[in-house]
Amino acid sequence: MNLDKSDVEKIAHLARLTIDDADTADYAHDLNNIFQLVEQMSATDTAEVSPMAHPLDAHQRLRPDVVTEQDQRVLFQSIAPETEAGVYLVPKVIE
């Protein structure tokens, strides 16, 4: 694998990040080194190995379908950058 500047820009866009032009080469260099480290996995045969998603192989716990949480909208919105009438404000998305 060899990621170039345009790959870095593409990945950054998917991650909703912008990387300064001056820094993309450094990011490409670092990401390539990290992926070189990651490539050590590929020499291992894992065809018959079941993936391990949880250290204790536990399953998601279910709970009765009843309301347990109280409405705390005012509290939670008190730390939001911009709200109005109980909703979060963002730049206009629909003309």
Binding site: D30, Q40, M41, S42, V49, L56, Q60, P81, P91
Partner: protein, 484 residues
């Protein structure tokens, strides 16, 4: 006063020989004196700490005080604290005041302990040197030109310099154990699910686990009694009885079977660290343990597996930081995309961005099988190695970190070299096992650590082993001269 164990402090308080306010002032004074040099704290909560201490003193008057009532402590700034800034050492959360307490914070407050403040760390716990913090690096009290380790570097430095009797940490790939090793502490990462993750800002949810960073094993056991237990608000919390971790501290080690994995003693291990670990092993033989050479043949996969699993989970967890509901928001965004991109780019530091990008890439269409699925399969192989080993031995021992504390700036330009600082600790997180680091002597004046890994929910045994070792050694009592 600052060199006393939690039990000794508790006795002084219960006998009325000191008050919690006095004790709290003593540690606040130490923080005021030394924190500029160490940068171990992001926030010092003087007013609330003294109020909590006064409330604790009331409990002594009313005879309702418990074992840890009135004893000061510090939280890593990854735990949400209601009404107190919870920054995760990121510009993104620089002004984030949590609207609720983490379960760990709630439990420790309920025990009557006093929170002195919030400790510095690597940004979002991503780092092994505490140099990725938005608030600047923490210095190692043993040599202030060197790193304290990370990501719980502030907690490590604060306890090592006795600016607090004990602190909390979190460990995703070694973030409790590696700084404990570099700062001469006793640090325990429990089994995955033992301590609630509710309110602990998530980095890699299938690996993250909280634990105590202490001056000795007995203190760590006392803290484990408070921190552990089932929590319905954490869906991966394990519903299992919590033993009294102090009850078995003095058990005999006669017949204990210790495994030494040959993979932990190979290339890259500093010879002086290796020599100290071997000396420690001989001490365990004298205490009645038997030693067996074992193999964890897939150990070499741990770092590569981790750098797929952890970034993948981090890219998902950190997607909530988008400038809409809380945290940093860019000024005058032109549209929604600009709001997201600039808020995130301004709010996150370089290492966090790197990991988000790795995670985004390995989870993107067409690459999932080659990376994430493959890593989850390697994770199974690593876990299977441990389970095979635990059929023959009770615990596994080795070095915590390959070297002593490195110099500030030494590895900041080479992420891969930095990642290898966790080469011996990562596999434990991947398998979900408990692991501990205890002081094992010095190399050229710098601390070294012995790692002890146990089977699932064997924390009591790890603490017992550490405590017995600390009865016959005094490494854990050594304090950096400048802070004595």
């Amino acid at each position: 006063m600052q060199n006393k164990t939690l039990t000794e402090l508790s006795e002084l308080l219960h006998k009325g020989e000191t008050t919690s306010v006095e004790l709290t002032r003593h540690f606040l004074d130490r923080i005021n004196t030394h924190n500029t040099q160490l940068n171990a704290f992001i926030s010092v909560c003087e007013v609330s700490a003294l109020a909590q201490a006064a409330a604790a003193d009331k409990q002594f008057e009313n005879k309702t005080a418990g074992k840890l009532t009135g004893i000061p402590m510090a939280h890593k700034d990854i735990f949400c604290t209601k009404g107190v800034r919870t920054s995760c050492a990121s510009k993104m959360l620089d002004r984030f005041v949590a609207p609720y307490d983490a379960t760990v914070v709630e439990k420790i407050a309920a025990s009557g302990m006093v929170m002195l403040g919030k400790t510095n760390m690597d940004e979002f716990a991503m780092g092994s040197s505490n140099e990725t913090s938005f608030y600047g690096p923490v210095k190692n009290p043993w040599d202030t030109d060197r790193v304290p380790g990370g990501s719980s570097g502030g907690s490590a430095a604060a306890v090592a310099a006795r600016l607090t009797p004990i602190a909390t940490g979190t460990d995703t790939g070694g973030s409790i154990r590696q700084p404990s090793s570099l700062c001469n502490l006793t640090g325990l990462k429990p089994t995955y699910g033992r301590i609630s993750r509710y309110g602990m800002i998530a980095f890699a949810s299938s690996l993250d686990q909280a634990g105590p960073m202490a001056a000795n094993a007995e203190d760590a056991a006392l803290m484990m009694n408070v921190m552990s237990g089932f929590d319905e608000r954490d869906s991966t919390s394990v519903d299992r009885e919590v033993p009294d971790y102090t009850a078995t501290l003095n058990n005999s080690l006669e017949g204990l079977r210790i495994g030494l994995p040959k993979e932990f003693f190979g290339e890259g291990l500093d010879p002086q660290v290796a020599a100290n670990v071997e000396t420690a092993i001989r001490a365990f033989e004298k205490l009645g343990a038997s030693i067996k050479q074992i193999s964890l043949p897939n150990s070499h996969l741990a770092v590569s597996t981790y750098y797929v699993v952890a970034p993948a989970e981090c890219s998902s967890n950190l997607s909530r930081m988008d400038g809409v509901r809380f945290g940093h928001r860019a000024e005058n965004p032109t549209d929604l995309l600009d709001l997201y991109q600039r808020s995130r780019s301004e709010g996150f530091g370089a290492e966090v961005k790197r990991r988000i990008m790795i995670g985004t890439y390995v989870l993107s269409a067409g690459y999932y099988d080659a990376y994430y699925l493959k890593a989850q399969q390697c994770r199974r192989l690593i876990s299977n190695d441990f389970q095979r080993a635990f059929q023959e031995v009770d615990v596994i021992m080795g070095p915590t970190a390959p070297t002593t504390a490195f110099r500030l700036g030494e590895k900041t330009n080479d992420p891969v070299a930095m990642y290898l600082a966790d080469i011996y600790t990562i596999s434990t997180n991947l398998a979900g096992l408990p692991g501990m680091s205890i002081p094992a002597g010095f190399a050229e004046g710098l601390p070294t650590g012995l790692q002890i890994i146990g089977n699932y929910f064997d924390e009591a045994r790890l603490l017992n082993i550490a405590h017995r070792y600390q009865q016959v050694t005094d490494w854990h009592k050594q304090i950096p001269r400048a802070f004595a």
